[in-house]
């Protein structure tokens, strides 16, 4: 049951975020569409080997542009292909999902904690919150920065030529709520990702299984409310759902609910609506 549902959701991910050059895109869409419509196509390992090959071709054709979740989607399609050829597909797919999620999060932690020079000191989120317009509403909402303050900061952060310095450089406006937002996002995401990595890479057991689901659901429910990469969230949730045992119907329901919550996050500009509502309800 979990396997079929995970496969259907994977096909849905491929349909919701069409990808690749025009030569590959129709083939990916056709295979994913057929898999959704026909249970036989859905449960054939050849369908998924084909999709793995198409996604690999997409990555090669567009290299280095594809985002990381496209790679993860390719590994996941390969995992499905291999699992469907096994005597116990659900068990093989469970192990694959656990290893893939754990390793992907481990790499994310290695990058943030060891390889990146500007993550742990808060620079990444400080710069991203201030300059990335996709996060403008969230920064106004949680960082208590107004649009004029954001505009001022963006001008102040315009780059200087190497070695050049202004005599009177403009100062940044960073209220304490914004500093707290930077601190919370830097360490909150790092901690959450570390928890997911540890929970999924620990030897399987009842206790670690609950920790896995709690950490992954918490990560997806919070991160994709802000991060504009719903495709990554859907994929992680689909892989998490594949880890549910047959008797865990409620947990499966929570995964499907969170999957659609991420869909809502991506389609409803909730932060923008809240900023607009707050500014209209604030007395002048």
């Amino acid at each position: 049951m979990s396997v079929q549902l995970a496969l259907r959701l994977t096909a849905l991910v491929l349909l919701l975020r069409p990808m690749g050059p025009w030569t590959l895109r129709p083939l990916i869409l056709a295979a994913a569409g057929l898999a959704l419509l026909s249970p036989r196509v859905l449960m054939s390992s050849w369908t998924w080997y084909g999709l793995t090959a198409l996604l690999a071709a997409r990555i090669v054709a567009d290299w280095p542009l594809p985002d990381n979740h496209v790679y993860l989607l390719m590994y996941w399609c390969l995992a499905i292909s291999l699992a469907l050829g096994a005597a116990t597909p659900d068990r093989v797919l469970m192990t694959s999902a656990r290893l893939l999620i754990g390793t992907a999060f481990l790499m994310a932690i290695i990058w943030k904690g060891m390889l990146s020079p500007d993550y742990l000191d808060g620079r990444f989120f400080r710069v991203t919150w201030l300059t990335d317009e996709r996060f403008g509403d969230a920064v106004q909402l949680f960082g208590q920065l107004s649009q004029p303050q954001l505009d001022h900061n963006r001008v102040a952060l315009r780059p200087m030529p190497e070695g050049a310095r202004l005599v009177h450089p403009p100062s940044l406006e960073e209220p304490s709520a914004f500093r707290h937002l930077v601190l919370a996002s830097t360490w909150g995401i790092f901690t959450l990702e570390a928890l997911v990595a540890v929970a999924f890479l620990c030897p399987p057991g009842k206790r670690s299984s609950m920790a896995q689901h709690a950490a992954l659901l918490c990560f997806c429910g919070m991160t994709y409310a802000i991060a504009p990469v719903a495709g990554f969230g859907w994929l992680l949730l689909t892989m998490g759902l594949a880890l549910c045992r047959a008797d865990q119907q409620v947990l499966r329901g929570v995964y499907v609910g969170t999957w659609f919550l991420v869909l809502m996050y991506s389609e409803v500009p909730w932060a923008h609506l809240m900023v607009a509502w707050l500014s209209s309800s604030t007395p002048i």
């Binding site: 594809p66 990381n68 291999l82 790499m107 990335d132 780059p159 991060a227």
Partner: protein
């Protein structure tokens, strides 16, 4: 005795092995060839400012009479994006050649195209940004050969 193929559990490992192989390769490429940590399958996204938003390309077209900087036209955006995220000889050459073809199509002569890849870096206290050139690559057109710096 270990039955490797008995339960089929070996089938769980190839996808993760592939993930690890590509992720380690990505780390090597970021360290040796200036691949952006956000790209290449190493899961370095949202870990550093060194992504698409803070890298850019500049194109300079030289003829015997003039030297002009070109704004990257829409038709070259894809090639420019690849070059800025992974400034390899191959992508820089491809971009330089495409820029020259475009110039010639518009009736302008080209003797060389210089492609520069720049990165914006941020210091922490105080938070300031500076530009740094990552690579410069010049493509010469007849009779001079192609050369890189």
């Amino acid at each position: 005795m270990l039955h490797v193929g008995g339960t089929g559990q070996w089938r769980s490992w190839p996808p993760t092995a592939l993930l690890l192989f590509i992720a380690v390769t990505q780390i090597l490429l970021t360290r040796t060839a200036d691949l952006s940590p956000w790209k290449g399958g190493g899961f370095g996204m949202f870990a550093t400012t060194d992504g698409t938003a803070f890298r850019y390309v500049r194109l300079f077209v030289d003829t015997p009479e003039r030297s002009d900087e070109l704004a990257v036209p829409q038709s070259l955006e894809d090639a420019a994006l690849r070059a800025q995220l992974f400034p390899s000889d191959r992508f820089l050459l491809r971009l330089g050649e495409a820029a020259a073809v475009r110039e010639r199509r518009q009736g302008r002569s080209v003797s060389s195209v210089r492609v520069e890849v720049w990165k914006i870096e941020f210091s922490n206290t105080p938070l300031r940004s500076t530009e740094r050139k990552l690579r410069s690559f010049t493509v010469h057109f007849e009779p001079a050969p192609v050369s890189g710096e």
